[in-house]
């Protein structure tokens, strides 16, 4: 720690103030922005879910009208998928991907800022629809021709344009992550020495780049159907309503893996640390993730088994869906293998990770029942499906991301979250989650259809709906506790130090919170779990022996047998200069989006937005690479 941040950084961006956040291109700050925004939307989406559950608590619910209910469940789905889970994954990836591979930033820092601002503005844009005549109400899947009907109401235009803009943001950040992983790894950080989380981020980036174009085309076609009298999905004019379903699910199913793979990556980081063992079968986990990425593109039609595709297509997609269970199962066995015989510590991140495994196994198995066509055609669009995907996306993804928050919060803030409250949070969430979603399996098998705003008495659905509503409020309490824990710990949490969990990966070698440039000296990596092997060796009986070469948690290069030792001179580290052009460009794009939604009189907004975007892009290209004044 001889060299301080001030001395090695020529242009430290402004540390405080709103402007410093708007202009930041620091991957860590952008990661935090993603995280805070996602957390905010999580509470909004959660509130929508609670309203839905209140309405369904009893038969013939009177709380919401059908119109309000349709907006709320549509926005709940849209919010949780696009404005919560994807950005929280982006938050972790932004913050930790460069650090985990020993880089100082992502490959394209300004593009990174652009992705965030476009995501934020698009999310806000979709939500403004609530205040100007109503939110999208055609379900987040937007099946046409329902979504192309009612062109005098712009709700589904908000949905079509908003999703497309979010897609642009995702593609930009995916390209950024891929370039970062391929070009900016530290010396010695070969592909098979990368932490599993980085591998999963890589798979997710490729999934997004290949899956977003189909739905982008579909959304434009749908938009054209609504506004320009195109007939892509108009059955009456020879169009095909099923084409939309194919395009949507060709995106929508890889999207499921986009949501879950980063959580799997996080759990694959946490389990070895709290088991004090290396990840069981690292290569198997990595290549299973990649296999999921490939096979994920061949399973989309299992969402459409009742649409009349015929037996050959259904058999094919059924088999593909079973096959994708294999790499998923491999991962589960490897996680269990990692904990097997380990010296386990049941800290909060570990609890959430184990909760992830248990809940994801339930969700995964109910997913396999969808692969079996005869079973699926009984469950299609019933609450059984709702139960299934909440077990995967809440019991799986959300548990994984919460585990990640408890695990990495010390690195973000330098302070620990409160362990006791964390454990209460875990048990409340586990109980509330199962109370809410386990009964939905029964409801679904008893025939309760999705997306109905009320149901009659005497259908046998009363009890379990009430239980589900009670459970939803338990989840709500759990997350209020989580919020309080975060607010409390930011000021009063225990000081964490560099390496509070006795970690294995590079982020624990640097201070908490990390300096702007991450590493005073770019690390040289000799093996998987490099930091661990610098701290511990094994004696002849395989017992851990602490090594003396680690001082104060700072990685000291012992000059091992690694090839290509590079001891960097302590010259000044150039970090990218802050820029407001990315935010400006994305603002222009969203103004254009508003114009497209209100096409009849929105041409002016389209023109203004296009000019603002061009202004932003020109400024972006032409601004000096470095800021003039030296801080």
């Amino acid at each position: 720690m001889a060299v301080t941040a001030e001395r090695v950084t020529l242009r430290t961006p402004g540390e405080t103030g709103l402007w410093s956040w708007i202009t930041t291109v620091d991957h860590k700050r952008i990661g935090l922005l993603y995280g805070v925004t996602a957390f905010f939307f999580f509470f909004v989406g959660g509130l929508e879910a609670l309203l839905v559950r209140v309405q369904l608590a009893q038969p013939n619910g009177e709380v919401l009208s059908a119109a309000a209910y349709n907006q709320l469940f549509t926005m709940h789905g849209l919010t949780m998928v696009f404005l919560v889970i994807m950005p929280i994954a982006a938050a972790f990836t932004n913050y930790f991907l460069p650090i985990l591979i020993g880089a100082r930033d992502v490959a394209f820092p300004r593009l990174n800022a652009f992705s965030y601002w476009l995501f934020l503005f698009s999310g806000i844009m979709i939500y403004t629809s609530f205040f100007v005549g109503g939110a999208p109400d055609g379900a987040w899947v937007g099946y046409s021709p329902l979504a192309t009907q009612l062109p005098e109401v712009v709700r589904m235009d908000y949905w079509a344009i908003g999703l497309n803009l979010l897609g642009v943001a995702s593609i930009a950040s995916s390209a950024n992550f891929i370039a970062t992983i391929f070009t900016m790894r530290a010396p010695g950080m070969t592909m098979l020495r990368m932490p599993v989380f980085v591998w999963m981020a890589l798979v997710v980036a490729f999934l997004l780049i290949f899956s977003l174009p189909p739905v982008a085309i579909g959304l434009f076609q749908l938009f054209f159907d609504r506004n320009f009298g195109a007939l892509f999905y108009e059955g009456a004019a020879g169009g095909d309503p099923l084409l939309w379903q194919h395009l949507f699910w060709l995106f929508g199913h890889p999207e499921v893996y986009v949501l879950i793979l980063p959580a799997m990556g996080i759990v694959s980081e946490i389990l070895p640390v709290f088991s004090r063992k290396p990840l069981f079968g690292y290569e198997f986990v990595v290549f299973s993730g990649a296999a999921i990425g490939f096979v994920g593109f061949g399973v989309w039609s299992h969402h459409m088994f009742t649409s009349g595709m015929g037996p050959v297509a259904e058999a094919g997609f059924g088999i593909a869906t079973m096959i994708i269970a294999v790499p998923t199962g491999v991962k589960i066995f490897n996680w269990i293998g990692t904990t097997w015989g380990g010296r386990l510590r049941f800290s909060t991140p570990m609890l959430f990770s184990l909760g992830f495994i248990a809940m994801f196994v339930i969700g995964g198995l109910s997913g396999v029942t969808h692969a079996i066509v005869p079973a699926d055609t009984q469950q299609h669009d019933s609450y059984y499906v709702v139960a299934h995907f909440h077990y995967v996306l809440f019991g799986g993804a959300v548990f994984g991301y919460v585990a990640g928050v408890y695990y990495w919060f010390p690195k973000w803030t330098g302070r620990m979250l409160h362990e006791g409250w964390g454990k209460v949070h875990f048990w409340l969430m586990l109980i509330g989650f199962n109370l809410t979603f386990a009964p939905m399996h029964i409801l679904g098998l008893n025939g309760m259809p999705r997306r109905t705003y009320r149901y009659g008495e005497g259908l046998g659905w009363d009890l379990w709906n009430l239980v589900a509503t009670v459970g939803a409020f338990v989840i709500g309490i759990a997350f209020l506790l989580f919020l309080w824990n975060i607010i409390w710990a930011r000021k009063h949490g225990e000081i964490a130090g560099n390496d509070p969990w006795d970690g294995r990966t590079l982020e624990w070698t640097i201070p908490s919170p990390p300096p702007v440039h991450n590493f005073d000296e770019v690390p040289v990596v000799h093996s998987l779990d490099d930091f661990w092997h610098k701290k511990y060796a094994e004696d002849e009986e395989g017992r851990l022996v602490e090594m003396a070469t680690v001082s104060g948690g700072t990685l000291v290069d012992t000059g091992g047998e690694g090839e290509g030792e590079v001891h960097e001179e302590h010259h000044d580290i150039h970090m990218p200069s802050p820029s407001y052009y990315p935010a400006l460009s994305s603002l222009g794009i969203v103004i254009t989006g508003y114009g497209l939604v209100y096409l009849s009189w929105g041409w002016a907004a389209v023109a203004v937005g296009a000019m603002v975007t061009l202004w932003g892009l020109f400024g972006w290209s032409l601004e000096p690479i470095t800021r003039e004044e030296h801080a």
Binding site: Q149, A236, E314, Y536
Partner: protein, 181 residues
């Protein structure tokens, strides 16, 4: 005994194995997974060929603007159930926002009933409780499914594809009468 057990492929100074070595436990799990997969595939085969499982079929293309006025759908209200052979019935059904036509169907116990269903506006669903009937009703496409009803009773059917404001109120009843035939 050991805290830091070796795993397949993990680097470091752990015990070494030759290339391609797989832990016996892991290998057994692979075998178990393969057995499971084969079992599932066999189950699908049995369902398809031995039990006569049928998937919803894309039977024909129609024009959703005119199909309601064309035979055989045009007299769906007056003549909801047609007997085409002893004990074999055919129902031509139209789904629209937010009702089924016909929405009450009565057949005797033990009859085989085939549905030809299409929509004239948006997508709907037809799920008849306690039967194998569950299909998406797509405008412009005729979906066909057949079921045999051996037990007398009332089978409610509901729309389960979200179809708009009145979605929750879209249902009908299939009644199977006992003692005939």
């Amino acid at each position: 005994m050991t805290d830091e057990t070796s795993s397949a492929g993990s680097p470091g100074p752990a015990e070494t194995h030759e290339e391609g070595w797989i832990d016996p436990t892991e290998r057994n799990w692979f075998r178990f997974s393969i057995v499971l997969l084969v079992a599932f595939a066999v189950a699908v085969g049995v369902a398809g060929f031995a039990l006569g499982f049928q998937v919803p079929g894309d039977e024909a293309r129609v024009d959703p603007r005119t199909v309601a006025d064309e035979a055989p759908w045009s007299d769906r209200i007056d003549n909801p159930v047609r007997e085409v052979a002893p004990g074999e019935y055919v129902v031509y059904m139209i789904a629209r926002q937010f009702r089924y036509e016909p929405n009450t169907i009565t057949v005797p116990e033990g009859s085989t009933i085939t549905f030809y269903v299409t929509s004239i506006d948006v997508q709907h669903g037809l799920k008849i409780q306690d039967t194998n009937i569950n299909l998406q009703i797509v405008p412009g496409q005729v979906s066909k499914l057949t079921t045999t009803l051996d037990k007398a009773g009332t089978y409610p059917f509901i729309c389960h594809e979200f179809c708009g404001l009145g979605h929750a109120g879209m249902f009908g009843t299939l009644t199977v009468e006992a003692g005939e035939g």
